[in-house]
């Protein structure tokens, strides 16, 4: 994926790759299409043992990354997820672990207990996300009011929550007045209703989740950042705004996944053009096909570039991280699906059949378009950033 990886990083990526090679063949994925969760029991715990849940959590809180740049490390797994169209709640699990990891040490027993279960893979999380006031990135309508004992009462609906139907716990990022609060809500909490949805991906799952005056005890509310006594990690909080950090993490992981899926579709198609003959010539000898592959290769390289740039900025706590993360979404969210659709076109009819592998990757990049803000919403956010900078 990236020039300049350390040997340890390469080893981590290879371990994940081999694991997915063995367990996530296209045939496996087709078989999982009918599975309610999209993966077999034990899957997520095995992944946790490989290190899919810890990189964004400080060592003191039970986590730990290879290189010290936690998001860069984790994105190597995300890239392999995309390259295999692998199942599992990689994004919400890590957003939740990250959020609890910065709070658990000061947040008391309940948060620490959940974090431990998330890190071990014993539990999975879904993330219900409202947009901060004044922003519009397709977030859910979730509002929190004060509850007894420092707790919260949360109302609202998340129409499309990743891994929501099978999650053991929800990380809820809700509006509270003019700010945001973060809390952990048991899936079994009274007033929480969820409904399994069908979706465009073969193994990724979504649910509609409704919260009807769900009471959250005080010890499940994340302390405000200023109160947090967490150790500074490599992903230190530049903006001081947890909701923004969560969003950027989700965007970076999602784009890394999409880039992986783009790479898989591209490689498959390049091989196809060499082996498939038409009119006595390989497809790869037709200039129109060559030029299209050249464009795709350029989109792929550019997608890598902006995704890695955003990850590095976020790991380094740089102030341009949000801008780069939005640019990554705007670019990859547009060119990712276009690239894979071009791959379909070059394959011809076979490329839209269920038995061919291409749609596995088409589904993954397609799923990545509207989630966490559409490319159009991120373009608008970028324009807002531009306006603010130029005006100031």
């Amino acid at each position: 994926m990236q020039p300049g990886l350390s040997a340890d990083q390469q080893f981590f990526q290879e371990t994940t790759r081999k694991f997915l090679d063995a367990r996530c063949s296209p045939a496996d994925l087709r078989a999982l299409a009918a599975d309610p969760a999209g993966y077999r029991p034990g899957w997520w715990r095995q992944g946790a043992e490989l290190g899919w849940t810890t990189p964004l959590v400080p060592e003191a809180a039970g986590g730990g990354s290879i290189s010290g740049a936690g998001l860069a490390d984790l994105s190597l797994a995300a890239f392999e997820f995309g390259r295999h169209a692998a199942p599992g709640p990689l994004i919400p699990a890590n957003v939740a672990a990250f959020s609890l990891g910065r709070s658990a040490s000061s947040g008391g027993g309940a948060l620490a207990a959940w974090l431990e279960r998330l890190l071990s893979g014993a539990a999975t999380a879904s993330w219900l996300r409202a947009d901060p006031p004044g922003t519009d990135l397709g977030g859910a309508s979730l509002t929190a009011g004060a509850g007894p004992g420092g707790g919260l009462v949360i109302d609202g609906q998340a129409p499309v929550a990743e891994a929501g139907a099978d999650a053991d716990v929800f990380l809820v990022t809700a509006r509270a007045g003019s700010g945001m609060v973060h809390a952990v809500v048991d899936a079994s909490a009274a007033g929480l209703h969820r409904r399994r949805l069908e979706g465009v991906d073969l193994t990724r799952r979504w649910a509609r989740v409704e919260l009807d005056a769900v009471a959250v005890p005080g010890d499940q509310v994340l302390p405000a950042p200023a109160d947090a006594g967490f150790e500074a990690s490599s992903t230190s909080d530049a903006s001081g705004d947890l909701a923004e950090r969560q969003l950027c993490i989700a965007l970076c992981l999602q784009q890394a996944e999409s880039v992986g899926a783009m790479q898989a579709a591209f490689d498959m198609t390049l091989e196809w053009t060499a082996n498939r003959y038409s009119f006595g010539r390989p497809l790869s000898s037709y200039q129109e096909i060559k030029h299209r592959m050249a464009d795709m290769r350029m989109w792929l390289e550019a997608s890598y570039a902006i995704t890695v740039a955003a990850i590095d900025a976020l790991d380094a706590g740089r102030p341009d991280a949000s801008e780069l993360a939005s640019a990554a979404k705007a670019y990859v969210g547009h060119f990712g699906p276009e690239l894979v659709q071009d791959c379909v076109q070059i394959h011809g009819g076979i490329g839209v059949t269920f038995d061919h592998d291409l749609h596995l990757f088409l589904r993954r990049v397609t799923a990545g378009v509207p989630a966490y803000g559409s490319p159009a919403q991120h373009r608008r956010r970028l324009a807002g950033m531009v306006a603010e900078r130029v005006a100031s």
Binding site: V160, N275, S278, G280, G349, I350, V352, F354, R380
Partner: protein
């Protein structure tokens, strides 16, 4: 002395109103999974409708009287198309039976073949499919590997065909096969009539990524065909094939004399207009969002342009201003337009296109987006259309091919020829 157009129109109108149901809603095409039961019921109803049309003297309006048709003009067909608008005459199932299959039989069949099959087709008793594409072939239909070997008065066929719509319920296939491997590609082909449901023809239904199973692949093993079921001369199958594909293009372009096409339907209609997107915009609460309006306006523009383009190309072809290869312009337009429409619909649908309640919402935008390229593949890829436009309409040089003057057995076929 044939019936004049207006009295034909009145007769057709009266019969249509008395006998046909209103047209079903919704676009044809590679839709989502339709149950087999529903599909078979639809086919059965199409056969009934066709039989009733035949009995009423309204089947095969431009087919010759001696083969069961009405022997009337394109104007009569046009009148019928206008009168039948809004009614269910199973028009979508007339292709490929009436054209290109029946059209090819009419043009190249022996007298016996015509008498045996054309009336049966017009009565709805025989439904035909095209055994044309092959798994190895892609856009290169003349590169057929399915082989027919002469054995006395019979031919023995072996090979595989693919992308045959509805072969699992249809009756006959028009089959292009190679009869000479020592001649160059286009000079060793022959066309046969093949009864689909017989030993040696195994029909496999292809599942599309959206669950649709209307397309089939057939595996043909040692199937014997009498020489009397050969269409056209031996090794001259490409002469037949060229007209076959002309009839197919003409049908797609909307100018065929052999099929009914209710007025306002098909690519000439406003399928995929801004109107069809508006409910989505309202559902997403974006009816005041200028970026959503921009997308609706774009889709609507493309629909209006499409509905102006198809008849213009037809008129230009009839007037000779454009040659008959110019229908590739309409094919290219409609493919690229459909792709853009699917993209816009997915964008407008937001997260509801990504995931939906299986018992409520309409999954079309998301699944439609996944199937988007089908519009640029099926019925000849847009790449082939661009080749045809550049070479046959603009007169630019032909692509270098390594198969034009080589014995076909020596043509490179590559590892993926399957």
């Amino acid at each position: 002395m044939s019936e004049d157009v207006e009295s034909f129109r009145r007769r057709a109108r009266a019969w249509i109103r008395a006998n046909l149901d209103p047209a079903p809603q919704g676009e044809a095409g590679i839709g989502r999974a339709r149950s087999d039961e529903r599909e078979l019921a639809r086919v059965a109803r199409a056969r009934e409708i066709q039989r009733a049309l035949f009995d009423a003297g309204l089947a095969g309006i431009c087919f010759p009287v001696e083969y069961g048709g009405q022997g009337l003009s394109l104007e009569h067909l046009g009148a019928f198309n206008q009168e039948v608008a809004g009614y269910d005459c199973a028009a979508d199932l007339q292709i490929p039976t009436f054209t290109p299959c029946a059209a090819v039989i009419l043009e190249f069949g022996t007298e016996e073949q015509k008498r045996a099959h054309l009336p049966a087709i017009l009565r709805g008793e025989e439904m035909w499919m095209q055994f044309l594409s092959e798994p190895s072939g892609g856009s290169d239909v003349a590169g057929a590997l399915t082989t027919a070997v002469r054995d006395g008065d019979e031919w023995v066929l072996n090979g595989s065909k693919i992308w045959t719509t509805g072969a699992w319920w249809a009756d006959w296939g028009l089959c292009l096969a190679r009869t000479n491997w020592d001649a160059p590609k286009h000079r060793g082909l022959t066309v046969f009539m093949l009864r689909i449901h017989q030993p040696g023809v195994e029909v496999h239904r292809i599942e599309m990524l959206n669950g649709n199973r209307e397309f089939c692949q057939e595996f043909i093993t040692d199937v014997r065909i009498p020489d009397s079921d050969r269409v056209g001369d031996i090794d001259q199958g490409w002469t037949v094939g060229t007209r076959w594909m002309f009839h197919e293009r003409t049908a797609m372009g909307g100018g065929s004399p052999y099929v009914v096409r209710p007025a306002g339907s098909g690519s000439a209609g406003l399928v995929g207009s801004g109107d069809s997107l508006w409910p989505l915009v309202v559902a997403e609460g974006r009816s005041q969002d200028p970026t959503a309006l921009d997308l609706v306006g774009e889709a609507h523009t493309l629909a209006l342009v499409g509905s102006a383009l198809t008849p213009r190309i037809g008129a230009s072809m009839r007037s000779g201003a454009l040659n008959d290869q110019a229908s590739a312009l309409a094919r290219l337009y409609s493919g690229t337009r459909s792709v853009r429409y699917a993209t816009i619909a997915y964008e407008l649908s937001g997260q509801s296109g990504l995931a939906w309640d299986p018992e409520a919402g309409d999954p079309d935008p998301g699944v439609g987006y996944l199937m988007r390229q089908a519009a640029c593949i099926g019925g000849g890829t847009t790449e082939m259309a661009r080749n045809v436009i550049s070479e046959r309409v603009l007169g630019m040089p032909r692509e270098t091919s390594h198969d034009r003057d080589t014995p076909f057995r020596d043509v490179p076929r590559g590892p993926a020829a399957g």
